[in-house]
């Protein structure tokens, strides 16, 4: 009886995961085909804005909307901002949608996602993990050579719009900096060639525990700093599941970028991916006594200042 129930639950769960996976590329394909309106957004005039240093934050897969960062991520960016007083941090890009539309915004299933968001706020982790699952499949879309270019082109357009609205001027001397946490790093690298094309600017990626494939986007980056926690198991998944990351694939974009010094790996001692002990966990301290988000923010700030 109990075995039957467990079997039924496992089968239903597996079918649910399969369904979410099969639906994952449809948003990007529909956007490209024009099912959901215009796929080529008109880019705003750059105007005469003063040159500023811009950092675009691309959140982890727990994100539900560009308007609503997870509390931990928002607090972390609040730590980072005072360390970079001359840098504008754009924090309202939702990186898991080809058109940047958050899950709780104008969507067919917005109410469902709003419900899951409320459940998450009340501490229900099981069903709300569907948000992570849905976004993880979008990371897979970004890494898939069939869908990735479409997805990345859309996200790049969204980033350009947000960057220009924030006052970014592409002809300034400093590169556009993308800070991608977890799956956000994959999205950042995928979007880089299109950002380079659309803005004509150099692109620098900072990957915070990024779960990354050997994306061709690495070939156009001016640099990527890959911050890896000592106990970050999620980052290791990227090293295992993506064959282009294996040392044997000597000519892969990742290994070439590593050899050329474009990808620089920076270890983050004692840190893991998520709370507890994660890069942004305010309750975790390093051996020096500092809380983790302060250390992470300081490392990122020093990278940005060195550009």
């Amino acid at each position: 009886m109990i075995l039957d129930l467990v079997t039924t639950l496992v089968v239903v769960g597996a079918l649910g995961v399969l369904l979410i996976g099969l639906l994952a590329p449809i948003e990007s394909l529909g956007w490209w085909a024009g099912w959901s309106g215009e796929s080529h957004l008109p880019l705003p005039e750059v105007g005469v804005a003063r040159p500023i240093h811009l950092l675009v934050y691309l959140s982890g897969i727990g994100s539900i909307s560009g308007d609503e960062l997870l509390a931990e991520e928002a607090r972390f960016l609040d730590h980072l901002q005072p360390l970079l007083p001359d840098v504008v941090i754009v924090r309202d890009v939702f990186p898991y949608s080809v058109s940047g539309v958050g899950l709780t915004s104008a969507r067919a299933f917005a109410r469902f996602w709003q419900l899951l968001d409320r459940m998450r706020l009340h501490g229900d982790q099981l069903l709300s993990s569907l948000i992570n699952l849905r976004n993880a499949f979008q990371v897979a879309v970004a890494a898939d050579p069939r869908y990735g270019p479409i997805f990345s082109y859309g996200v790049a357009q969204v980033i350009v719009l947000k960057a220009i609205k924030a006052g970014y001027r592409p002809d300034g001397p400093r590169p556009l900096v993308l800070l991608g946490y977890s799956g956000g790093a994959q999205v950042a690298v995928g979007a880089a060639p299109f950002l380079r094309h659309l803005l004509g600017a150099r692109v620098h990626v900072i990957s915070l525990g990024g779960v990354l494939d050997s994306n061709p986007g690495l070939r156009v980056l001016s640099r990527m700093d890959h911050l890896v926690g000592e106990h970050d198991l999620m980052e290791r998944i990227g090293r295992i599941v993506y064959p282009g990351r294996w040392p044997i694939a000597r000519e892969s974009a990742w290994n070439v970028a590593r050899r050329e010094g474009v990808v620089r790996v920076q270890p983050m001692l004692g840190m893991s991916h998520n709370t507890p002990g994660g890069y942004m966990d305010p309750g975790a301290r390093t051996t020096s006594g500092e809380v983790n988000p302060e250390v992470t923010a300081r490392v990122i700030a020093s990278i940005v200042q060195s550009i």
Partner: protein, 210 residues
């Protein structure tokens, strides 16, 4: 009483010799095999629908492409079955008539009913290869049953048949290309298929490092 469609498919997926034996002698076997081929072809085409969407085909042409995908797989299967049928005698098998071979080896395409899963992001292309290997294993079982060959010899016959089919396609490649182009034009209305990299390469991949 004959098993149901689902039982036949389930048996083929399990590489069950008894199922292949049943379909060989079933009066509905030919219809069943063709149904499997058409559905498997449509499923595989649906799994590769990215190329249709990328080319912004209409809903009607999309449906047409699914149907023609089924037909294309049926033709591909018939060429393979014919070569295995011709080769089986060389490997010491008894020469069954062509219809039982179609019934059995057509059913062997049952794993491709899952072809729609090729649509899954990232793991889709890997699944596509695994499904083809599954089909090959089912075809080996079917060849062993229908021509009375031991599995190892059946495997050699099936693989040789596959290579012969590949050689035929190479020799008559131009003809195949013309047929493929016709299929593509008829089903989508576009002259040449646009791939995602074709559409977006000029925008990004060739940008120099900054």
């Amino acid at each position: 009483m004959d098993p149901s469609f689902g039982e036949f498919v389930g048996g083929a997926l399990r590489l069950d010799r008894a199922t292949f034996d049943l379909v060989e002698h079933s009066p509905f076997g030919l219809r069943l095999a063709l149904t499997v081929l058409l559905l498997a072809g449509a499923s595989e085409t649906l799994g590769q629908a990215v190329v249709l969407v990328l080319n912004r085909v209409s809903k009607l042409r999309f449906a047409l492409a699914l149907g023609l995908g089924g037909l294309e797989l049926a033709v591909e299967a018939l060429v393979w079955i014919a070569t295995v049928w011709l080769l089986a005698g060389l490997f010491g098998g008894y020469r069954a008539s062509f219809a039982p071979a179609v019934r059995v080896l057509g059913l062997a395409y049952a794993p491709l009913l899952f072809g729609v899963l090729v649509f899954l992001p990232y793991i889709g292309p890997v699944l596509a290869r695994l499904l083809r290997v599954w089909v090959l294993l089912a075809a080996v079982t079917g060849t062993s049953v229908v021509f009375g060959l031991v599995p190892v010899v059946a495997a050699v016959a099936a693989v040789t048949g596959f290579l012969a089919r590949w050689l035929l396609l190479l020799l008559f490649g131009q003809l195949g290309n013309i047929a493929n182009r016709w299929l593509w034009r008829t089903s989508t209305g576009h002259t040449v298929p646009l791939r995602s990299t074709d559409a977006l390469l000029p925008l990004g991949r060739n940008e120099p490092r900054g």
